[in-house]
């Protein structure tokens, strides 16, 4: 069984998809398999990570297990008005 990456907001445009199945493993290894431009965009300071719906305080040392969902959350949009 694979793990899943979820791309929110403009990251979806950059990834060309809202979700992507990946091989489980250390995050560094997962990111190494992505297009370089996308991997760089995901590691920018202002992008937050959520593992299985829980916001992570820091992105270091993550290893994706089978069935895990890792979401990349760019800054949320401001409101109108």
């Amino acid at each position: 069984m694979s793990a899943r990456l979820v791309f929110l907001g403009r990251l979806e445009d950059l990834a060309g998809t809202a979700e992507m199945a990946v091989e489980p493993g250390p995050l560094d290894q997962v990111l190494a398999g992505l297009p370089r431009e996308l991997a760089v965009a995901l590691l920018v300071d202002r992008v937050r990570f959520a593992l299985n719906g829980r916001l992570l305080a820091e992105s270091g040392g993550i290893t994706l297990a089978s069935g895990d969902e890792l979401a990349f959350l760019p800054p949320v949009s401001g409101g109108q008005g």
Binding site: G9, P75, V76, G78, G79
Partner: protein, 147 residues
């Protein structure tokens, strides 16, 4: 009483407000805020994306914070997601309370935090195509009002 929902399809604010008000007969005052897609400035459509595991739980936590902070009989949050046309309702927040000051403050507070803190991503379509909406400095200022 807390009623917090994401609406995948258009909703009727008057209808929502009537049903909410009926559920809080003991409240002397009901304050509501309705936000709509502005019918101006060349925007043809607004698209709001959310992340299901976090968006609604975030709304619920915000509602609980408001309920702890003010004396409320009820709090309603209905937020559209998906693509909508100019003039369409985006968000309805209503606070019902015995004293109107609580209802005003809670509704204002929830809106300030919904706008800049929710796990929502918006893009709008103009003649030039789709464009993601970035955070605004004003949103931070608005939240800072609440200390």
């Amino acid at each position: 009483m807390i009623d917090v929902r994401l609406a995948e399809a258009p909703f009727d604010p008057a209808d929502e407000l009537t049903r909410f008000t009926a559920r809080v007969p003991e409240a002397g005052g009901v304050v509501s805020f309705l936000g709509k897609v502005r019918a101006d400035s060349g925007v043809e459509a607004l698209d709001i994306r959310h992340y299901a595991p976090m968006t609604l739980p975030g709304f619920r936590a915000l509602a609980q914070t408001a309920l702890r902070r003010w004396q409320l009989d009820g709090l309603l949050i209905v937020h559209r997601v998906g693509e909508m046309a100019p003039g369409a309702p985006i968000v309805l927040v209503a606070g019902a309370a015995r004293h109107r000051r609580d209802a005003f403050a809670a509704t204002d507070f929830v809106m300030d935090h919904l706008k800049g803190e929710s796990w929502l991503w918006k893009r709008e379509r103009t003649a030039a195509g789709w464009r993601w909406i970035e955070p605004r400095a004003q949103d931070h200022v608005d939240r800072a009002r609440w200390g």
